[in-house]
């Protein structure tokens, strides 16, 4: 579904990604793990076509993504680490992606209500989204993305700095969305979360993919010394 070949990205003189090659299959949860500044966000921004100025090849469903960036953006939605809220109510925020697609108002009402229920946001429906807590904002950001019938959701540290209750709601919903056949790319430095959710994972360090594999295999039996160093620094059990 998604194939990256030798992707390179620079911001001025800073190299953010070096020769990144990846394959992400339809319907899987693919975790990109690594420390802060490793290049996870840049990778997600490229997947979501928010960055189009990069070297290498990006194929989406076998076709060059850059040549049809707008179409790819319609199929991949990114949720940012710091949830940005539009002015307006929670309902308006969640409905935005449907409104720009000219979905009719009855349909918007139905889909938004469904998402608010899924993320337990019903009681905040008419409240100002900007006045919510960090965890509630993150849930709105997820609902706003998932209400769109995209093929792929790129989630950047979706539970970073959240309390356990909000993190639990979000993880539960990610699983539900996966059950609907959606593909999820999850960037996280939380190994426990990646292990719980992901089918496959890649370890990224200093802009380079060090190792990719089945989630269980990667976490329990990492091959590369740098992956071992990263993973064994954590005590899972």
């Amino acid at each position: 579904m998604i194939e990256l070949r030798n992707i390179e990205k620079k911001y001025g003189e800073t190299v953010a990604l070096k020769k990144v090659s990846l394959r992400i299959e339809r319907g899987e949860i693919f975790a990109v793990i690594g420390n802060s500044g490793a290049g996870k966000t840049t990778l997600l921004r490229i997947l979501s076509m928010l960055e189009t100025d990069f070297l290498g090849e990006y194929l989406f469903n076998g076709k060059d993504a850059r040549e049809r960036a707008e179409e790819v953006r319609g199929r991949i939605t990114m949720v940012f680490q710091n949830p940005v809220m539009f002015k307006g109510s929670v309902f308006d925020n969640v409905a935005y992606g449907l409104r720009v697609r000219n979905v009719d108002s009855d349909e918007i009402e139905k889909k938004v209500e469904e998402m608010l229920k899924l993320f337990r946001l019903e009681r905040f429906r008419d409240k100002s989204a900007r006045k919510l807590s960090g965890g509630e904002k993150q849930r709105v950001a997820m609902a706003r993305a998932f209400v769109i019938d995209a093929d792929v959701y790129a989630l950047d540290e979706p539970t970073a700095n959240l309390d356990p209750e909000n993190a639990r709601i979000i993880e539960k919903t990610i699983k539900k969305i996966k059950e609907r056949g959606k593909t999820i790319v999850l960037a996280t430095h939380n190994l426990f979360q990646a292990k719980r959710l992901a089918d496959r994972a890649a370890y990224i360090e200093s802009g380079q993919i060090i190792e990719t594999g089945e989630s269980k295999e990667l976490f329990e039996n990492p091959k590369h010394p740098r992956t071992q160093n990263f993973i064994y620094g954590f005590d899972f059990f």
Partner: protein, 240 residues
């Protein structure tokens, strides 16, 4: 003795304001009208320019922004002098017949406050542009929808720029004095006396009560306009 002078002035001012002195009312209305027209004209020109400048990236954009920022601090006396030379009958814009007219003051004030509207609009757009653009883009918005969303998100800053521009216009003296000429004939239709020029004149004449009354009205106008704009922003622009 010194305090008596001030206290008498304040007492006289209170009486003039409470009694609604017709001359004061006339001057105050003219001030609001002249500066209001200037603010509306500056908004009509400045907001679109600021939006384009805030949203687009082109060579020379930084220089253009720097010029508008530098013009924020232009002394009104210098601006008044330049405008006087341009609008004088023998000047390049003399044929417009704007010298010593209300419209002339509005035109001059519009030029003075245009950089305020443009610079503040650019700042408002830039403060939200990156994150709103990315968010709207990833949610499937097209270029036009993104542009409208960015402007919508910057609206409170844009409104604030227009209010700041009006307040600067209504409180300036140089242009009103040199282009307007502080003309006042009771019952006349071509008067150009506004609050700032009359304050300056009454102080020169030693009529402190009048000057204080007009000063009070000027401050009241500025505060009222700001309070109304805050209220309208909450009501119209909606949620914070």
């Amino acid at each position: 003795m010194a305090w008596e002078y001030v206290v008498n002035g304040i007492n006289g001012a209170i009486k003039l304001v409470v009694n609604g002195d017709p001359e004061l009312v006339d001057i105050a209305i003219r001030s609001v009208k002249v500066s209001g027209i200037a603010a509306v004209l500056a908004a009509i020109i400045g907001v679109p320019v600021g939006v384009v400048l805030g949203l687009s990236r082109f060579k020379g954009r930084g220089l253009l922004k720097s010029i508008f920022n530098a013009l924020l601090g232009i002394p009104t006396v210098v601006m008044g002098l330049i405008l006087y030379l341009f609008l004088a009958p023998a000047g390049p814009l003399g044929f417009l017949g704007l010298l010593y007219t209300e419209m002339g003051i509005s035109f001059g004030q519009m030029l003075l406050i245009l950089p305020i509207v443009i610079s503040f609009t650019v700042s408002s757009i830039e403060s939200v542009e990156r994150e709103i653009r990315d968010l709207a883009l990833t949610l499937g918005a097209n270029k036009i929808q993104i542009m409208f969303k960015i402007v919508e998100e910057s609206l409170s800053g844009i409104v604030l720029s227009i209010i700041a521009a009006f307040n600067r216009a209504v409180a300036e003296l140089g242009i009103a004095l040199m282009v307007g000429g502080n003309i006042f004939v009771r019952g006349g239709g071509l008067n150009t006396r506004v609050l700032t020029t009359s304050i300056q004149m009454y102080v020169a004449r030693g009529e402190i009560d009048y000057a204080l009354a007009l000063g009070t009205i000027l401050i009241a106008i500025v505060f009222t306009i700001t309070a109304i704009s805050n209220y309208l922003q909450k009501k119209w622009v909606g949620y914070d």
